[in-house]
Subunit: 140 residues, 4 copies
């Protein structure tokens, strides 16, 4: 399915609708098969022991599923997360970015479902996995 | 099961282990049946449309499950979230705090399981529900 | 919200739409606050060690969420499960029925969300918890 | 990681530990990257409308995660599911087998995490996705 945004267009769109997280996330790759986003390494997200916090990992998975959905349906600000299940599997590496590999599994009229694997940059094994459902508003 | 912390002790403990979120959360009630925590209404967590963001709701559910577990096992900084499933059911009300009602369903040797309902303060219907598993480190 | 079925009506409805599981489940209580259903103790569902199998527990949680939804919206055969997260927390007791305590948390136009706790009859601690989302077909 | 079973050995093991489901499942492929299992098309699992039931899909995902774990750790009958989240995304095709593609994402000392995609045989799009955590008993 053709994408409705280029990476620079999506980046500008995110900055506009989520100004409070501007600069926190980047898009490395966005095509029909795979979206790769990164959470820039940032002291504010650290937990005891120096790892990225669970909420920061959730945020990255959530924004990746949002971008994977938006990329196909075009800008619809009222699209919202309805469900997420996330497994935290390994301690993220300190001092590197966190990468999300997101694949859209379903795009229906009312819902999208996205699978996400999270990696510490440069490490082969995922630190977390997540699946997210977004609710897509009916066309007006 | 007797609790290992009073509310002031738990608040001081959270400030120590999570200094980056100091002042973000409060504990309204903490006893063997129910824990009630609040996320103070704060502009930084807003999404388009003025609602509390999904990641902020996840954070509140996560810290509530952490506190519910810690309250029983005592301070163990290496206790980490291994799994969460969360349903976002209604739009949170603007301008009020978000409350988490957390109930510990299981405390095993290696895992705890907590159910959480999230409410906009003053509203009867939950805005979200979550269940979280924490992994408890083996005793040294 | 007023219920659209009595217990005998719901039992007859389940027998009609799910004839392959006739007699497997019973309804102990069905009102606006709480639905209690039971899975009759039955050798076919046993796992190694004599416990009820995970799939049988899933089935009970699934049918309980279905009944909790149907009870409010009336018979709509195309209502389907879209999502379930389930935690298996304790080994069910051998030789007794399994009970589901189900509470409907949300009934929207397109989705319902139900929380379920599963108990071995006569035991105070839940053996499992589940949350289920059902998709409700648009009115024709 | 080397596997501890061949396909015939695993099939024999499943028949022994789960005699009540003998013949229900088959293993198409089992190697370090991917496990493919099938649920034989069978009238007993049908829902209204002729689709495979949700509990039958859960069963297939559950046994696939079990086999993916056992294949690596060797026979340990007390290994049990602790958590599953499953999304039902499309109506399964009538009259064909259901296939599970399972990938083990984590094998720790105490837990394994497996991702599963379910397909109607011959169809490119998944009908469901699931993630399952198994608890592995401590070595005696």
């Amino acid at each position: 399915m053709a994408l409705q945004f280029t990476i620079p267009e999506m980046t500008a769109y995110l900055d506009k609708v989520f100004p409070q997280v501007q600069g926190m996330f980047g898009i490395d790759r966005m095509d029909e098969d795979l979206l790769i986003m990164r959470l820039h390494n940032d002291e504010r997200h650290l937990r005891p022991g120096g790892t990225v916090s669970g909420p920061a990992m959730f945020s990255l998975a959530d924004v990746a599923a949002y971008v994977a959905t938006m990329a196909r349906i075009g800008p619809q600000a009222l699209t919202v997360t309805t469900n997420c299940a996330i497994d935290f599997m390994r301690k993220p590496a300190a001092g590197v970015d966190l990468l999300a590999h997101a694949r859209l599994l379903k795009l229906g009229r009312a819902l999208s479902v996205t699978d996400v694997l999270l990696y510490s940059e440069g490490k082969p094994e995922p630190v977390a996995r997540a699946n997210l459902t977004y609710s897509i508003p009916p066309k007006g």
